[in-house]
């Protein structure tokens, strides 16, 4: 399908000065965003997408992936020094990172976190490369029946796993589906839910929706929190000579790093679970399987290593369903789909056939990003320690400006601004009432694909449900989905009943 020469050439393309510079920029920016509490990954990607319009498709994707990876590594810094995770997923890093830093060894804590991040990220990237290609080769043979069944499965799975109540997950997903059907009907060309707005003919514009729900609404939430707690105790790096990480100590954490990477990669490959689940699962596993579980939570380097390795492993692993099936399993993967679309590439198994060189260049770019992450984190330790104290009263207005500028750059005009603010308010309430974001966003992104495949299946089969008997893969997914709905529905009913009995 693709020769060795071509693969080599794609790697060559990722190692040019230009692409390294772009990835470096992405990782660096991601690192800074990760370090600053209150600025998170999805905010950063959402506002960075408009910046990538002027890059080539490859550079844009490499930049965004670098950004995404950088945030995961950078977030450890504020978790360790501030006891405030830079990303929600680094909350587990606080547990041991902050105590270790307080006991006078901040540098050691930071270095364990960084090395664990890099190893976790690198290994998971290699796993992605190894798994995504055979996956896509199989997925290429899927027809509309299989795709419709898998998409429905993925949506229900995400609704059930993304945390909180299953019903709320379904509600968020349903909202995404409804918004995803706005625009022209693919078969008859009839207008749906456009309310006479020509701007809505091609659907709700993705960029204002993403920037509104993810970035702008997050700033509203931050604003509220900023009013509540204004002070935090920053630990500064000292010149203490024995505050460093020895090779022996690093070697001691390696088994934990490997195991946690495995857990993180597994969690990442399943759609909807996300890095927080991965980090806490790995932390819990490391604690339980340790010889001295009591030392966890008091500054055990293994605790930091477990949380950070898993946190970082989730990111590349979450791209497995994206490149393999075209289904985004996380917010950052969903945003990448949007970025790919803007740059004229349909992400998914077809990429392997139509743009193999692009796929391999992205993969090699991801490896470059891992290595740059190590360099940036290692040499920038001191600087990033200072960045933690950038006050929110600077961060919040800057981000709000970037959100609105991004919409204007794309030429959405006044309509775009209305959409952004509408979705910012919508996103704010999603957050306040704990409705799942991932489910909403993924549902919105995959709905056009789901609708097309479902309608094709129904017409092709002539409406006969028995077609599923000839399509074993689709049948399996339909059955699993049905069982999952029953299980999740039943367990949430039970939980509600017991809560009611208790009160």
């Amino acid at each position: 399908m693709i020769g060795f020469d071509a693969i080599l050439a794609s790697f060559g393309a990722a190692f040019t000065f230009h692409s390294i510079a772009v990835i470096f920029g992405g990782v660096l920016l991601g690192y800074i965003v990760g370090v600053i509490p209150g600025l998170n990954r999805s905010v950063a990607i959402a506002i960075a997408i408009p910046l990538t319009f002027y890059m080539s498709a490859y550079a844009a994707i490499a930049f965004l992936i670098g950004l995404s990876k950088g945030t995961a590594a950078g977030s450890a810094v504020s978790a360790i020094l501030l006891n405030t995770p830079g990303e929600p997923s680094s909350a587990a890093t606080c547990l041991d990172g902050y105590p270790l830093a307080r006991s006078g060894k901040p540098r050691k804590a930071l270095k364990v976190g960084l090395l664990a991040s890099v190893v976790g990220d690198l290994l998971a990237t290699l796993l992605l490369i190894a798994v995504a290609i055979p996956f896509a080769a199989v997925a290429l043979k899927f027809g509309p029946y299989e795709l419709a069944a898998i998409l429905i499965f993925a949506l229900v799975f995400i609704a059930g796993m993304a945390g909180g109540s299953f019903l709320k997950g379904l509600a968020a997903g349903g909202m995404g589906v409804i918004l995803g059907t706005v625009g022209l009907d693919p078969e008859t060309g009839a207008m749906r839910l456009t309310f006479g707005y020509a701007e809505l003919m091609e659907g709700v514009p993705i960029l204002p929706l993403v920037i509104g729900t993810l970035a702008l609404s997050e700033m509203f939430v931050q604003l509220e929190e900023y009013r509540r707690n204004k002070d935090a105790d920053v630990i500064r790096l000292s010149k203490n000579a024995d505050d460093d990480l020895s090779y022996g100590e690093f070697k001691g954490t390696l088994p934990t790093i490997f195991k946690s990477t495995g857990i993180g990669a597994f969690v990442g490959a399943l759609p909807g679970l996300g890095p927080s689940v991965g980090a806490f699962m790995a932390y819990g596993f490391a604690k339980r399987s340790a010889k001295n579980p009591d030392s966890f939570g008091k500054g055990n380097p293994n605790g930091i290593a477990a949380a950070e390795a898993a946190d970082n492993a989730v990111i590349p692993a979450s791209y497995i369903p994206l490149f393999g099936l075209g289904i985004p399993g996380s917010v950052s993967a969903a945003l990448l789909v949007g970025a790919f679309m803007i740059h004229g590439i349909q992400v998914g198994p077809l990429m392997l056939r139509d743009h193999p060189e692009m796929l391999f260049t992205i993969f090699s770019g991801m490896i470059v990003a891992s290595l740059l992450m190590l360099a940036i984190g290692w040499y920038g330790l001191r600087i990033f320690a200072k960045v933690t104290s950038v006050p929110p009263n600077i961060v919040i207005p800057v981000v709000i400006f970037l959100c609105l500028a991004g919409i204007q750059v794309q030429g959405y005009g006044t309509f775009g601004l209305i959409v952004v603010f509408g979705f910012a308010i919508f996103g704010y309430f999603l957050k306040k009432f704990d409705y799942s974001f991932v489910t909403f966003l993924v549902a919105f992104i995959v709905t056009p694909m789901l609708e097309m495949n479902l309608r094709q299946s129904i017409i092709l089969s002539g409406g006969e449900i028995s077609i599923l008997l000839e399509r074993p893969i689709a049948l399996v997914f339909v059955i699993i989905t049905a069982l999952m709905v029953l299980h999740l529905g039943w367990s949430s009913y039970r939980r509600n009943a017991s809560r009611r009995a208790a009160s």
């Binding site: 899927f142 509309p144 008859t188 020509a198 091609e202 679309m341 004229g344 309608r455 094709q456 017409i459």
Partner: protein
């Protein structure tokens, strides 16, 4: 000496000003709108065209995809645009010829100026390998007569009308499924889920591998890359759905701007990169057609489609869908 230098300077300045006035357009970045999804053949071609125009016009040309309604979304936006040529649509002629006939649109043929035609379309009815009916049009028709429910994937309202017309002529009972663009059609044909399909240009990419044989040419003549398949007229259907890839601007665009764009487009049709992507990658002949020629051809086609619709008794798809 001093005077001479001064006069040279004056002349130079005057010339510079003169040039600047004549080349006033374009003085800011342009937007090339593609009415189809990213990754399709129109999109691939548009991106190269934009690069060539960028050099020719001396301003950035940004490509924006506004997919939907077979290119109709982009045109309905262009119809209300008064950018004076800074925003133009690069698309296929059927959107403007058949679009207003099949759906309610806010635009008509004479709402736009057709700056130039740059490529002749090579659309076709295609199928996959190892089908029970082989890879000939007669084979397919025979098979479909015996097998009600033979499936066809449609992408545009025009090919939907053509297939309905053919089904009526031949007495076929087809299952017609919608799909979006060549990227949506290809998997359906390659996996064997659909028996045959409309293809705007995607089949050309499979000319060498033979994975997507052409049954029927929808151009005026046989296709360059598939000389064995008959044209639609040779197969006995009185339709001329030949497509032209054209650049369109709103009717109110100043003459000077249209001329400048037309000049740049004529240069583009001689540019190696544009010829290479068009003739070697998507396998369509590059032909430059000026504004008058394109406008005449399009208006003839509209007349033809009108007559066909009368024969069919209305636009297909509307009565069996509610």
């Amino acid at each position: 000496m001093y005077l001479k230098r001064l006069s040279t300077a004056i002349v130079a300045t005057a010339m510079a000003v003169g040039v600047a006035q004549a080349d006033d357009f374009p003085s800011q970045p342009l937007t090339l709108v593609v009415g189809f999804g990213a990754g399709g053949s129109t999109d691939i071609q548009a991106r190269v065209l934009a690069n060539v125009l960028e050099e020719e016009l001396g301003q950035p040309v940004n490509v924006v995809n506004q997919p939907g309604a077979g290119g109709g979304v982009a045109l309905s936006r262009l119809a209300v645009n008064d950018d004076e040529g800074y925003t133009f649509v690069f698309g296929t002629s059927m959107t403007i010829t058949y679009g207003p006939l099949s759906t309610e649109t806010n635009y008509q043929l004479d709402d736009f100026r057709y700056v130039a035609g740059v490529t002749l379309g090579q659309s076709a009815m295609v199928t996959g390998e190892d089908r029970p009916f082989g890879d000939t049009w007669e084979g397919l028709i025979e098979y479909a007569k015996e097998n009600p429910g033979t499936s066809y994937a449609t992408q545009t309202a025009l090919d939907r009308m053509i297939i309905e017309y053919i089904a009526q002529q031949e007495g076929l009972d087809l299952r017609i499924v919608p799909t979006s663009g060549g990227a949506g059609m290809a998997p359906l044909i390659l996996s064997g889920d659909v028996d045959f399909a409309y293809s705007g240009g995607t089949h050309s990419g499979y000319a060498d591998s033979g994975e997507m044989p052409v049954l029927l040419s929808l151009a005026e003549d046989r296709l360059v890359a598939f000389p064995d398949a008959p044209s639609i007229q040779e197969a006995g259907y009185d339709i001329n759905p030949a497509e032209i890839r054209v650049v369109m601007v709103p009717q109110n665009t100043p003459d000077g701007h249209v001329e400048r764009l037309a000049e740049a487009l004529e240069v583009a049709t001689q540019d190696e990169r544009f010829i290479e992507i068009t003739e070697e990658r998507i396998l369509m002949p590059v032909v430059y057609m000026d504004e008058d020629e394109v406008t005449q051809t399009l208006s003839d086609q509209v007349t033809g489609y009108r007559a066909l619709l009368e024969e069919l008794g209305g636009v297909p798809g509307e009565d069996d869908e509610d």
